[in-house]
């Protein structure tokens, strides 16, 4: 009796896994299919202003939507923006719910096992985000008992900090607003993450807190690319050429300065070879 019920419960699970194993969950749309459909679906993260955010009319605006619009214009297709979060952005591409994922997609070899990357769109510069009253001035100050760091789940600095600041306690929250609030409320002392957007965001949302941003060039610069489905070479090759054009005619840098309010810290070295 028990065995029969157990099999009733487990059969759908096993079937689902078998289905996943044999049939692909979805096929990514090739360049031809995108041109034929007349639409490109781009995932952006609207919780990362000024990369992307909702405006007064509830439309998504920002650096990435405008860059996506420039790409769609080159393709001659309609742009559809899809809001994605940090943890689910890659599954969105893998399941063919979007063609391109943006949202500060840092290029890493681990991620490249699952999705493909274009040439870099922009650099990402890291630093410590903390309050004025914590006394933190450099990376070494973080590796102490009693220091609580707060990071966003699924982001690229977590394994780095586990190595560099093993003594610090790490709190992982769901999004950047919660992260910032945790520092402002004193739940955590600092966070190490991109500082490109920090100034824009923190003073707007938590103006009462005295923020301190400490650049940490020793952590290196990462490159943010467009992410596309593994093996979708037709789309990737097209996007590489389109990005080369947008870099050389100054569109990328102009959009960056328009939205971030200052030049890109590390310029993307543009080369005609890729």
């Amino acid at each position: 009796m028990i065995r029969r019920r157990l099999s009733l419960l487990l059969t759908p699970l096993v079937l689902a896994l078998l289905l996943l194993g044999t049939a692909p969950p979805a096929n990514a749309a090739s360049l031809d299919e995108i041109l034929k459909a007349g639409e490109i679906r781009v995932g952006v993260n609207p919780t990362l202003p000024p990369r992307a955010q909702y405006d007064d009319q509830n439309a998504i605006t920002g650096f990435e939507p405008e860059l996506a619009a420039a790409l769609a214009k080159k393709l001659g297709v309609k742009l559809t923006l899809v809001p994605v979060g940090s943890p689910d952005r890659v599954p969105f591409v893998a399941a063919n719910r979007i063609d391109i994922v943006m949202g500060a997609m840092s290029r890493t070899s681990d991620r490249a096992k699952v999705i493909d990357f274009t040439v870099p769109v922009h650099s990402e510069n890291y630093g410590i985000i903390t309050r004025d009253d914590t006394g933190i001035t450099k990376m070494a100050d973080l590796d102490r008992d009693g220091v609580t760091l707060v990071q966003v789940r699924g982001t690229v600095m977590i394994p780095v900090l586990q190595k560099l600041a093993p003594k610090a306690h790490m709190l992982l929250l769901d999004n950047y607003e919660d992260r910032d609030r945790a520092i402002a409320q004193g739940r955590a002392m600092a966070s190490v993450d991109g500082i490109d957007t920090a100034n824009f965001r923190l003073n707007k949302q938590f103006g009462a807190t005295k923020w301190k941003l400490i650049a940490t060039p020793e952590l290196g610069v990462t490159w943010s690319c467009l992410g596309i489905a593994k093996g979708n070479t037709t789309l990737r090759d097209y996007l590489n050429v389109a990005l080369y054009e947008l870099h050389t005619d100054g569109t990328v840098e102009a959009l960056w300065e328009k939205w971030f309010g200052r030049p890109m810290d590390t310029k993307v070295p543009v080369t005609p070879w890729f």
């Binding site: 896994l17 943890p87 681990d110 709190l171 739940r187």
Partner: protein, 224 residues
């Protein structure tokens, strides 16, 4: 462009995920106990106290049954610090779950109290039982028997609910699955493994609850 399952990429995280299942178990167990205590107090107030005193319990139940648990925990975790009350993530989520469960269990237990027939109470009085004896020998055995299956189901639901804790920085099963997903990007494999862990947690709990129900109240409950 077919997706190929790569279990080898997530198997090294098996024990890490199982550790998260233990945290989920801890949260659900403590949250349920807390909720049960609150529910028992409330249900007693509603059933035994005069109407006016029961009103506070009534308001509590109405409030917590009609707002989402996530919003309640957000209030405790991010709202209270604005008033100077900083509660740690685990405690904040535990309080949220206990308060929410308390409201559900109030209704369940109140139904149990109502299931005791007036005639039996009269009979107990006729036999000269004290109030305590009536509670001990007449009311509680019947209430326990009546509400036990519903309480067991509620416990299973709490186990699922604990996944909310990952949003507040607690490294339980769902939170750890998200972490592994972020490192490996093997979403299908990681969340399948997490799902199997949850199924394990609930089946073991169901089996233990069914055994206890059979031993204590001679209830025949389905495990699956």
């Amino acid at each position: 462009m077919a997706y190929t399952l790569q279990w080898g990429q997530v198997l090294p995280y098996f024990w890490y995920l199982l550790g998260g299942a233990l945290v989920a178990l801890e949260l659900s167990f403590l949250g349920f106990i807390g909720g049960f205590a609150i529910g028992l107090c409330n249900a007693s107030a509603l059933h035994f106290l005069p109407r006016g005193a029961g009103r506070i319990a009534r308001a509590y139940v109405v409030f917590f049954l009609n707002t989402p648990l996530l919003v309640q925990i957000f209030f405790i975790f991010f709202g209270l610090p604005e008033a100077g009350i900083l509660i740690g993530p685990f405690t904040a989520v535990l309080i949220g779950i206990a308060l929410n469960e308390g409201a559900y269990l109030t209704e369940t237990l109140r139904g149990g109290f109502a299931s005791v027939r007036r005639e039996e109470l009269d009979a107990a009085e006729t036999l000269g039982m004290s109030r305590f004896q009536t509670l001990r020998y007449v009311v509680l055995p019947q209430v326990c028997r009546a509400v036990y299956p519903a309480l067991s189901n509620q416990y299973i639901l709490v186990t699922m609910t604990t996944s909310i804790a990952s949003i507040f920085g607690i490294e339980e099963l769902t939170g750890r699955a998200y972490n592994v997903n972020a490192e490996t990007f093997r979403s299908f494999e990681v969340f399948s493994l997490a799902a199997v862990d949850y199924v394990g947690l609930t089946i073991v709990a169901s089996a233990l609850l069914a055994l206890a129900g059979r031993a204590l109240f001679r209830l025949r409950m389905r495990v699956i």
